[in-house]
């Protein structure tokens, strides 16, 4: 993932080292999808010179003739013991695809296709394998976390495809660099950070209004207007104690980050941390949680973790919330470019209708998609975000392109007004992990393709 600055010379070297990580991540993503009896289906691999941009989810029962397991990066048939013992999968490379597009598009489809019979057998193996690998993955996490020093790169690679819920608090703290990778120092540092947060709250929040500037009063007022409106569809967030916690975290963060201060939408960004760190102390589903079951010390520790993790997360997006939000504007522009390269017809349609990406994608970047998907999927999405680390802003562009193009067919039928409204209320209410995994794996493929060979995709 950290190969975005490749230049010609070391591209080969990087590409080969990357392919190892790519294979395992890609396979894991695939497994996530297949685990629920879905497979990747390349629909319309090539069409003229256009890019193979369509990946559909197909139920297992559907005919499989066009199905292909596709990895954009590796250049050969490969065998990956991690994938499934000794088994080989036909992989087409983008170079091959590119070459074929000059000759015969339809032959490339059959070339990369396994026989229907073989395919269904493979799938049966995969879905059985997916259950088996759950415990294998758990073992890997446990092993990775048990060392004296956690190797972050390895943890990132594992976490990218999803973290087991009960390990999430630990893993997130590590990925964000809030907890040190050295386990001997961990407890001490967390204790110190939590005390430091308490001091900040006492110094900035627990003071009378007359000691605040007008601007600070304004900010506090805005925060208190927004806290009751934070994830209102999850009843847990309606509890007064939760809203008080949110207010303390947000105000303290805003005061300590004067370049941006509080910006609406940052309230949404705290919520994944709140549910993840509270999950260490409360059992069952979020809907049954009550803050009354927690001691003030516990609440304060959880708040501190949320505060520091929010700070770490936003450090990698320092200009997303400053005046005129240049960081977001830049990414919205990039998104438009990437979408244009991947799906020219949709891109042209949107342009012809006068639709601007800012009209819908601004909120996506501002709230990191929290507003667009069901809340119970957000923590899974964030596993990938946090695994990306500093590369996250760049990778968001690909996730959002993939998210947008999930509705490519629908969008092409809509005119301006319907399109804006459709994009502002995308039908994700019924989404499960499957749809989310598809968005992520597609994003991963596009990101890899574009970053390895940006030039031949242009125009």
């Amino acid at each position: 993932m950290r190969n975005s600055n490749n230049t010609g010379e070391d591209r080969n070297k990087d590409a080969s080292s990357l392919s190892t990580t790519l294979d395992s991540r890609f396979n894991q993503t695939l497994r996530n999808v297949q685990g629920t009896l879905y497979i990747l289906k390349m629909h319309r691999l090539l069409k003229g010179r256009s890019f193979p941009g369509k990946v559909l989810i197909t139920r297992r029962s559907e005919p499989l003739d066009q199905s292909v397991l596709y990895s954009p990066n590796t250049g050969r048939r490969y065998s990956d013991t991690d994938f499934e013992q000794g088994q080989q999968v036909e992989i087409s490379t983008e170079n091959e695809l590119q070459n074929r597009s000059n000759t015969n598009a339809s032959s490339s489809v059959s070339h990369a296709t396994m026989g229907t019979e073989t395919m269904s057998k493979e799938i049966q193996k995969y879905s059985a394998g997916a259950r088996a690998t759950d415990s294998a993955r758990l073992m890997k996490f446990t092993k990775e976390l048990s060392g004296v020093t956690v190797i972050l790169e390895k943890l990132r690679e594992l976490a990218w495809s999803g973290v087991p819920p009960y390990l999430r608090p630990t893993v997130w703290r590590l990925l964000l660099g809030y907890a040190p990778s050295n386990s001997d120092r961990r407890e001490g540092i967390l204790r110190r950070k939590r005390l430091e947060y308490l001091d900040c709250v006492a110094q900035y929040y627990d003071i009378p209004d007359r000691e605040r500037t007008d601007e600070e009063i304004n900010m506090l007022r805005q925060i208190s207007v927004d806290c009751p409106r934070t994830v209102p569809d999850v009843s847990f967030f309606q509890q007064v104690e939760v809203q008080k916690s949110l207010e303390r975290i947000l105000y303290t963060w805003a005061i300590r980050h004067p370049a941006s201060g509080y910006v609406q939408g940052i309230n949404d960004l705290v919520t994944p941390f709140v549910v993840v760190f509270l999950s260490e102390h409360l059992e069952g589903s979020v809907d049954t949680w009550s803050m009354a079951d927690l001691s003030p010390e516990t609440i304060s520790d959880v708040e501190a973790d949320c505060y520091w993790c929010l700070s770490k997360l936003l450090d990698s997006m320092h200009d997303h919330y400053t005046f005129a939000q240049p960081g977001i504007q830049r990414l919205v522009f990039k998104l438009k470019e990437v979408v244009r390269r991947i799906d020219e017809p949709v891109s042209r349609h949107m342009e012809e209708q006068g639709l601007e990406f800012l009209q819908f994608a601004f909120r996506w970047f501002n709230c990191l998609l929290i507003r667009e998907i069901p809340f119970h999927l957000v923590t899974r999405l964030w596993d990938t975000y946090l695994a990306e680390g500093d590369a996250l802003p760049d990778f968001l562009v690909y996730i959002f392109a993939s998210f947008l193009l999930t509705w490519s067919d629908q969008l092409r039928k809509l005119e301006f007004q319907e399109m804006v409204m459709y994009l502002q209320h995308l039908p994700t209410q019924k989404w499960s992990h499957v749809e989310l995994e598809m968005v992520l794996s597609q994003a991963y493929m596009w990101h890899t393709m574009f970053n390895n060979s940006p030039s031949h995709l242009a125009g």
Binding site: P232, Y321, Q325, F362
Partner: protein
């Protein structure tokens, strides 16, 4: 911008913006007007949101394309881009929070900086249902509206009071302005060819469009 659908038939398309401080109830006024919905726990608006509704004004069908903007100052740079081409505005404050009324002057300036002089502006004092919490008197607001030459109404998105009236009044006034402009241009509005843009002001924004599928900002 091809054909418009038959069930979306209208004579005029007017772009209207909703502005005012955060939390005054802009999004709820919009959802009340377009979907007859109200929510005590609505989410804050990030950037802009958008909804439409068609109503009958005189003997014409007028479609309102309403842009709901984020109230926080930080978003001003983003949202003011959407003022462009607006022919109507509802400038909303909260009758229970005086500071939101004090800020109306700033919003007005913002609006006038970015739109044509002939824009129809309605000052809206929302949350009039919270009678025991009232902090801005009707008299003060009326006086301000008179001074600034805007229309004025008190509403409650919660009780559905005056919401319909406020929007309808703005759309009716816009229709009046548009018809007058068309007459001034020595053009009978009734005989304008379909799809022709009526320039409300000097700018050639596609803001009031007669019977066309066009609707870009």
């Amino acid at each position: 911008m091809g054909a418009y659908r038959a069930d979306d038939d209208y004579d005029y398309l007017f772009k209207v913006v909703l502005i005012g401080d955060s939390g005054v109830g802009k999004s709820n006024l919009l959802s009340r007007f377009t979907r007859n919905e109200f929510s005590l726990e609505s989410k804050s608006t990030i950037g802009v949101e958008f909804a439409t509704r068609s109503i009958r004004v005189d003997d014409k069908v007028v479609k309102a394309q309403i842009w709901d903007t984020a109230g926080q100052e930080r978003y001003r740079a983003i949202t003011s881009a959407y003022y462009r081409g607006a022919v109507g505005a509802l400038l909303v404050y909260d009758v229970t929070r005086h500071v939101t009324f004090e800020n109306v002057e700033r919003w007005l300036k913002e609006l006038r900086d970015h739109t044509d002089a002939s824009i129809v502006i309605m000052l809206v004092g929302n949350k009039a249902d919270l009678r025991h919490l009232r902090a801005v008197s009707t008299e003060d607001a009326t006086a301000f509206a008179e001074k600034e030459n805007t229309f004025f109404m008190e509403t409650s998105a919660l009780e559905s009071m005056n919401v319909e009236n406020a929007f309808t009044e703005v759309l009716t006034q816009i229709h009046r302005v548009v018809s007058r402009k068309a007459l001034e241009a020595n053009d009978d509005p009734a005989t304008l060819p379909k799809g022709q843009t009526i320039n409300v002001g000097s700018k050639d924004d596609v803001s009031a469009v007669k019977k066309s599928g066009c609707c870009s900002t």
